[in-house]
Amino acid sequence: MNESFDLIVIGGGPAGQKAAVQGAKLGRKVMLVERSRSVGGACVRFGTIPSKTLRETALALGKFRRLTSHVMDVKMPEHTQIESLMARKEEVIASHERYMGAQLARNGIEQAQGVARFLSPNELELTDITGGRRRVGAPYFVIATGSSPRTPDDVPIDHEHLLDSDSILSVSYLPESLTVLGSGVIACEYASIFAALGSQVTVIDRSPRPLAFLDPEISDHFTRQLQEFGGRYLGGRKLVNVAWDGLSMVETKLDDGQLVRSEKLFCALGRIAQVQGLGVEVAGIKLTPRGLIAVDEHGRTAAPHIYAVGDVIGPPALASTSMDQGRRAVCHAFGAEVGAAREATPTGIYTIPELASVGLTEAEAIERHGSALVGRANFREVARGQISAAEDGLLKLVAHPDTGVILGAHAAGETAADLVHIGQMAILGAMTYDTFIDAIFNFPTYAEAYRIAALDLFGKRAQRAAAAAE
């Protein structure tokens, strides 16, 4: 017999979880289908949690060296076991799973482990790991199946020498050298971590600079730190050939004639939507030319009772935006009130140093408003930065040229991802930079950077006014 629900969510990542919980909060009978045994899906096992755990170790080691003025050095023995640097991984994963599982259970959400396939627009077939099948139906569906690493045909990923973001953390030993293909968030985050731990890292991409969507002053902090770790960024290059030499090294040939040899290679050239086997055509769902699920502003697919959220619909593909999409899609389906979508979505990038951004970059502000007011606070000027031996950092404020209303905040350095939220609130509240000058901040904090940057902006504006008056 066919079991029926009010809502079936396919995929238990951040987007799917929030969609399911929202459905339950609206009093609906909800099922959450997830391929993995535990909620959170692959991202918990292979992605965010393990990589951030490893990053914390890399950060702590770097900080220890700096705080002791390099008197105490921590040298990583060659062939250090990666696993030993992620000692807390299992605890972090376990507590995350416990917490998420409890939340779903508390909300009375039925969880099913398996893969789903549309049999008709309102019916799914679930296949469990042993091949057992059952049918379930619902008037509404949310697809949140996420994405998987894109593997270009000419990069022969073997998960042993040439790895992707699902397998990179399975290497047992810290590689002496690592080639990273790509210059996006995932490429740069892993490049930072491995370089900080002592691998010789070479990042290769077509883009002349890494993290091209960021303000160049911010992304420069990544490149500079990478070089300090002994790594390098080879931008504006195309791949000619990538292959394991059959014995010990991966050889990467570039169009400028360079040959880069490394023990391992990490390919992070984008991600593709996971829709295989879902039977989208049966359900009447349309894909974009890039293979993503096409949706309208409410997250509705071409079949209006089926929504799609998260990575499966493409950029920005951040956990934060995906969760919001999940929540909004379900509210829309059941006609619940939901506020307007926010424009000022922050982006946090867990490279070393941490980078973050919200609102317009300087270039975007100039394009939109003819010019822009810009103020900077270097972490060297911030007492907290000095104390924490984290002087390498920057907060850049972008304001409207006439009104002084804050349009963007961009940060590099310790706590950058947290720091931009102050700028986000200023943008949402349409505040001017004066707010920061008049406000009192705790001392010593990184937040003080806002006051310093606002004063810098004020000073420059005054200079400009004086020059204009002369």
Partner: protein
């Protein structure tokens, strides 16, 4: 320890392994006094050197040179199509430089097992089968690891050594039986070997200072509760089954493995299983090169 009298009394048996011999074997195993084969000198040196920092290719090559048979085997394997699709390798240093110290350790272990460990008089055929099966398990473990995004090198090592306890127990048991002048059925002998091989294997891995993952995989690959075991144990358990089935003609099919608890524990869905099974031909060819 049991007295000669006790052992002698148990001689009148029906072909089964006398209880006294069995308990003697068990107590030696528990007390850690079971005679374990030494990893042949050079292989041992290479194994520990490969794990050290600042090991250079010359050092490893020099170690290899001291064992002519091992050197010849290394060059043969390194030049086989599995490892070297390109230029021919003529010198040991070249081999080490290109293959890397860790891979050389792997090769040295394979050879050491073949020549030094996998031995038991009167049971040559069985031991040969164990060795071929071990190579098969190692190669299948690699494929499973690749497809579950787990560590491929660890999987190989765990698979290769998973049954290393069998020849160890067999050798000890054959010696004990001979000393007690007891003739036991092959079936009974091999049954006891099966029972004790996990414990003996992990004791050996500990004595050889192999990584903890290997020790655990050797100790627990027949665990009835795979969902509670670590990933390497699950992988070896499944690879073990694959290797057994692939030894039979048309034995390795998805129907034959469906329902294996490791599939659920490793979250291998039918589509991924098909991918792994497609590699069976390559695995068989490689077994030929290595055994």
């Amino acid at each position: 320890m049991h007295s000669e009298v006790e052992v002698a009394q148990s001689r009148k048996t029906d072909g089964s392994v006398p209880a006294a011999i069995r308990s003697e074997l068990e107590s030696r195993l528990n007390a850690g006094s079971l005679e374990l084969p030494l990893l042949p000198g050079v292989a041992m040196e290479i194994t520990s050197a490969a794990a050290k920092e600042d090991v250079d290719t010359r050092t490893i090559a020099d170690m290899l040179k001291r064992d002519a048979a091992l050197s010849a085997h290394v060059l043969r394997i390194v030049n086989s199509p599995v490892y070297s699709p390109r230029a021919q390798i003529v010198s040991l240093q070249q081999a080490v430089a290109r293959v890397g110290a860790i891979k050389i350790r792997e090769i040295a272990l394979v050879i050491a097992c073949r020549t030094g460990v996998f031995k038991a008089k009167g049971y040559e055929k069985e031991i040969d089968e164990v060795f071929t099966h071990s190579i098969g398990t190692a190669l299948f473990a690699q494929e499973i690891a690749r497809n579950t995004r787990s560590n491929v090198e660890d999987a190989f090592l765990c698979g290769l050594l998973h049954d290393v306890g069998r020849p160890v127990v067999l050798q000890a048991l054959v010696t004990l039986l001979r000393e007690a002048r007891v003739v036991a059925d092959r079936e009974a002998v091999l049954g006891l070997v099966s029972e004790l091989h996990e414990a003996a294997g992990s004791a050996l891995a500990k004595a050889w200072a192999l990584p903890d993952t290997v020790v655990t995989a050797l100790a627990r690959h027949h665990s009835p509760r795979l969902e509670q075991e670590g990933v390497p144990v699950r992988i070896v358990s499944l690879a073990d089954r694959f290797a057994h089935l692939s030894a039979e003609s048309n034995g390795l099919t998805s129907e034959a493995v469906t329902g294996h608890p490791a599939l659920a524990a490793l979250e291998i869905y039918p589509d991924v299983l098909e991918k792994i099974l497609k590699r069976a031909t390559v695995v068989k060819e490689t077994i030929g090169v290595m055994s």
